[in-house]
């Protein structure tokens, strides 16, 4: 409201200045010297208006109707521009299309959009899928809106405010489920921004949001996995364990993404000093993680966790083992040696590191 008031005042002032200037300059009674002063006065007014805009941009906060809006805005940008705040002060009509008519026409003119979604398989899908059997049509549709907007926000040039408005105002159905899906979208955005910036405040918000999402009765396997990740990155492995176990139990398919669940669970056990479980999972890692040979994909994650958990040298032993599997013996030895000098390394991991290091020692001729 403050912004609107300032705009109104500044606008009225500018109009008054213009009227005055036009009236004065068209009057033939003025001497040229005075005309010059009036022009200077007009320029002064415009300059002050610009100054006013700068000041308001820096010092007047945006008014939020809902804390969720605030979190989202703080997530997607450091500080909304004056224009954005001006537009946000009067909420966008959710029914107003944000897609240029030209693009809509492009999609529709060809006439090949086929939406006769009446196949029996689709009905079966909606009813029978694990973890999704209780979803209503409107709930699924809301998720599709959120997912489409999220992908477009991340992969195309859709601005976050439009995406957020679309998701928040998608379909009125069940308030609880609406909030669940909206926060799910918020969590996706928070996670993406956190991975970009590493901002600890974003991680705290992500953790809080994921606790709501995964704790909701509609929460699914994906939510449990993401909650476990948030806990793990936020230094709470004891809370991450039940979440990742739950994700593992609920996971509906196999495949490489399931491997990530295995990977994260192994790391959680390692950090929690559950040596037996961690070593067992490491032994079976190559059978459960089809992309184990692409160490560049997952080793940096362990390095990051070593920074978050500096008192867990077993992570370095694991990293050494992965290096060893791809025949990078130098890195493996460095990792083992670095872990072995650490006082916190348990006896079990010490023995493992010693044995694995011996595997790399060239045989000495008798």
């Amino acid at each position: 409201m403050m912004i609107l008031l300032l705009f109104a005042l500044a606008g009225m002032w500018l109009v008054a200045m213009l009227v005055w200037a036009v009236f004065t300059l068209t009057s033939h009674n003025q001497v040229p010297r005075q005309r010059e002063h009036y022009i200077r006065f007009l320029l002064t007014g415009i300059s002050l208006l610009a100054l006013l805009l700068c000041v308001s941009w820096y010092f007047f906060p945006r008014d939020y109707d809902d804390p969720l809006d605030q979190i989202f805005t703080e997530t997607t940008k450091n500080r909304p521009s004056l224009l954005e705040r001006f537009l946000a002060s009067s909420r966008r009509d959710p029914n107003q299309s944000i897609i240029p008519e030209a693009e809509r026409a492009t999609v529709r003119a060809v006439g090949k959009v086929d939406l006769t979604n009446d196949e029996a398989g689709w009905e079966f899908l909606l009813d029978q899928l694990s973890g999704a059997g209780s979803l209503s049509d409107k709930h699924i549709a809301h998720r599709q809106v959120a997912l489409a907007q999220y992908i477009m926000m991340e992969r195309a040039d859709v601005d976050p405010d439009s995406a957020w408005s679309r998701v928040r105002n998608a379909i009125p159905y069940n308030p609880s489920l609406e909030e669940y899906e909206t926060r799910r979208f918020l969590a996706d955005t928070l996670r993406a921004r956190y991975f970009e910036s590493g901002d600890a405040e974003l991680l705290a918000k992500l953790r809080k949001t994921m606790e709501f999402v995964a704790g909701h009765r509609a929460g699914n396997f994906e939510d449990q996995y993401n909650l476990a990740l948030a806990y793990l990155l936020d230094g709470a492995p004891e809370k991450a364990l039940p979440a990742i176990v739950s994700a593992d139990n609920l996971w509906p398919t196999r495949g490489s993404m399931r491997s990530n669940v295995y990977f994260v669970m192994m790391l959680v056990h390692t950090i929690l000093d559950n040596d037996k479980q961690a070593l067992t999972m490491l032994t079976n890692f190559r059978d459960n993680y089809s992309d184990w040979i692409y160490v560049e994909n997952y080793l940096p994650d362990i390095v990051d966790l070593e920074k978050i958990y500096p008192d867990k040298p077993a992570l370095a032993v694991q990293r050494g083992r992965f290096h060893q599997w791809v025949n990078d013996y130098r890195s493996a030895c460095e990792a083992y040696d670095g872990a072995m000098v650490h006082d916190d390394l348990s006896k079990t991991w010490q023995i493992a590191a010693t044995m694995w290091k011996m595997e790399m020692t060239p045989a000495v001729a008798p």
Binding site: Q34, V107, V113, D114, L126, D137, I140, L203, T253, D304
Partner: protein, 213 residues
């Protein structure tokens, strides 16, 4: 006796106001400069307390934009249009199983994944669409437009290329790299029923690589 009109000269007042305004503008400019320096130092501080430097769940640092070169033509995939269509139709309250659309010689088929958590995108390129690579000026203009919409500091450009376009790909790669863009190359040797296929948040067991997610 006629009343004599008194002339008031406001020029001094105007000068004062002008000078004050000028000083305030100068101060505002200084404040902006100071503010930007503060922001830089804040960013540096944020980076120093950054707990991790690599995305945990394999989200690349840059987003990707997929382009295709086939039949001597350059294609931009209508991913945004398809998702827009899905979003609009789902906004009516009815879930969308799949949509099919055709744009600029690219036939797109987008379907909801079986876990209701993502979408699978499949594209078929047609020889009558896209932009002829022989028209280098038009291609350069198109690429400039694409790089404005998808800035090189935020996106890398993944280009699926077929053998008839390998030569042209080198030129295009050089064009992008000269403007600070990163280019990924996916060579294709044989025609299939579809040309490009990928998924977002699909947990199908037939997905073979993590990066594909």
């Amino acid at each position: 006796m006629m009343r004599q009109k008194t002339e008031i000269d406001l020029s001094a007042l105007v000068d004062i106001i002008s000078n004050v305004a000028g000083m305030m503008i100068l101060m505002a400019c200084i404040a902006v400069v100071v503010r930007s320096k503060t922001t830089d130092s804040e960013a540096a501080a944020t980076a120093s307390r950054k707990p991790i430097s690599y995305p945990m769940s394999y989200i690349p640092e840059k987003r990707s934009l997929t382009l295709c070169m086939k039949y001597g033509r350059l294609y931009e995939l209508p991913e945004k249009e398809a998702l827009t269509e899905i979003s609009e139709r789902a906004a009516t309250g009815m879930p969308v199983q799949w949509i099919q659309l055709h744009r600029n010689g690219v036939e797109a088929f987008v379907e909801t994944t079986s876990t209701l958590t993502g979408f699978r995108f499949t594209y078929k390129l047609h020889p009558d669409g896209g932009l002829p690579l022989a028209d280098k000026g038009a291609v350069a203009d198109a690429m400039r437009g694409i790089m404005r919409r998808y800035p090189p500091d935020q996106f890398f450009y993944d280009i699926h290329t077929w053998p008839d376009c390998f030569d042209a790909f080198r030129d295009l790669r050089q064009f992008i790299q000269e403007r600070g863009g990163e280019v990924g190359w996916s060579p294709h040797a044989h025609d299939r029923d579809f040309d490009v296929s990928y998924s977002v948040r699909e947990y199908n067991e037939y997905m073979s690589t993590i990066k594909a997610q």
